[in-house]
Point group: C2
Chain length 246, copies 2
DNA sequence: CCAAAGGACGAACGGTGTTCGTTGACGAAC
DNA sequence: GTTCGTCAACGAACACCGTTCGTCCTTTGG
């Protein structure tokens, strides 16, 4: 069409080599998708969008990836690979497992709302399995009963993922404009304040404490509830005044 | 087009009354959407699908509902209204709050994957607020510290919703064919068994316990971890051998 | 009785995941 | 060296999705 593209190939260039046609690969697709995920979140990762990133069409991806679900699985496992794993130390198992779960949430959060995948199917990729193995090893080192170990990895995984999803929503709001975040918080507080105190006495009286603390602090509160329960199952004495004391 | 529809109205019928045009309403839309939700899950609830159920077009819904998000909010609150609320009894607060959260999960599960909404924005409808109020009242009755009460409703809500989402996936598989469910379980067990035991020693050794128990049992395990933690914060003595003992 | 108001609705816009049929380049066999 | 089969690349299309626009037509207020 345009004169530029209508120009014949100059003779000193081999006419049809370019960048070697067979350039697409599973790794390239995952890498491109990770870039989109990082920039725009999981909703930005569409087959067309990823294909565009590789300057091709969506149909081309299906030669390397079964469908979008499989692509997301690959993405999640890539993220799971970035979670730092501790070297198990029996004396510090409780601290280590807590830190591991904190790191899990934080790593997921670095990739926006990728955690939504966890809640739609158990992660089974190699990195996810490594994570599960290490988690179970830590709990067993802490003398947590076997049945509790087996269930905890699922139960706590659910909680971590759910918290990461909630955190990603707040993070999105925060980055889309600092004002929008405070506006939202204010309108929420306003809605709460407008509740009829006779029908919601407890709720209204606790409004100040509901908007207290960051997502990360609330997450840690729940996490320590869970880990504390596991420690109790392991026969450890309860910690002193315990978390979230006033 | 067809001869049938081309027929003129018979004279003994008032020509343009039919069923009284103004028939759409917010309630009718929510009711229709609830029907679709019950039958096909939240993914089945599209504006077009709900409109078709009311034998109209999608555009007609927007006069009564701002957008799909608002419709889903209304749906969730409808579901929240079906959760049975206990009459608070100080002596049995722990049992009551446990039962309340068990009922929450079960009620959500009756409406497929509606719980996915919880993880995309805090429910603020009247029934959701009633639920939150009652939950906080129970915890306070149990002498749980105020800050813990305020955070628990969020933290445990996250866990309940996440577990309901996971449960809905299993439920879908179960109803789409009993065979498919057992096939999935078997192939999962097979995948686990094929893991190299030298790299996944703990995981492999615990495979039998990982596939043990129903979703509801696993949920209860985590729930009792959380409630136990809250009871400890309230200064109550720990329960005997505690949940999930072998 | 007429005019303003607003619900109903068909059509369209720009997106989505996925499939189909064709093209064209490569490696192997002859 | 030529032919042939295989398979990645790809454009087009299908069936959806949420939402908006403009128009019709009924209902209501004056």
């Amino acid at each position: 069409m345009s004169p530029v593209t209508d120009m014949p190939e100059p003779p000193w260039r081999t006419p049809r080599k370019e960048v070697s046609r067979r350039s697409l690969s599973r790794e390239a697709i995952v890498e491109a998708a990770m870039g989109v995920l990082r920039k725009e979140g999981i909703d930005g990762v569409s087959m067309r969008r990823v294909a565009t990133e590789l300057s091709t069409g969506a149909a081309s991806l299906y030669a390397h990836v079964a469908n979008k679900e499989e692509l997301v699985e690959l993405l999640f496992d890539e993220v799971a690979g970035e979670i730092p794993l501790p070297e198990p130390d029996p004396a510090r198992w409780r601290e280590q497992v807590t830190q591991l779960w904190l790191d899990s949430r934080e790593t997921m959060l670095r990739y926006r709302d990728i955690a939504r995948f966890c809640l739609g199917g158990i992660p089974l990729g190699p990195n996810s399995m490594r994570l599960a193995e290490r988690t179970m090893a830590l709990l067993r080192l802490g003398r947590v009963p076997d049945q509790a170990v087996a269930w905890s990895v699922d139960v706590v995984g659910l909680y971590v993922a759910a918290s990461a999803v909630e955190g990603s929503i707040d993070a999105r709001r925060r980055e889309q404009g600092e004002d929008l975040d405070t506006y939202y918080q204010q309108s929420l507080r306003q809605y709460f304040s407008a509740l009829p105190p006779d029908r919601f006495p407890v709720f209204v009286s606790l409004i100040p404490m509901m908007t207290t603390g960051t997502d990360a602090e609330r997450f840690r509160f729940g996490l320590e509830l869970l880990v504390g329960g596991l420690a109790a199952l392991a026969g450890e004495p309860p910690t002193g005044p315990s978390p979230a004391g006033p």
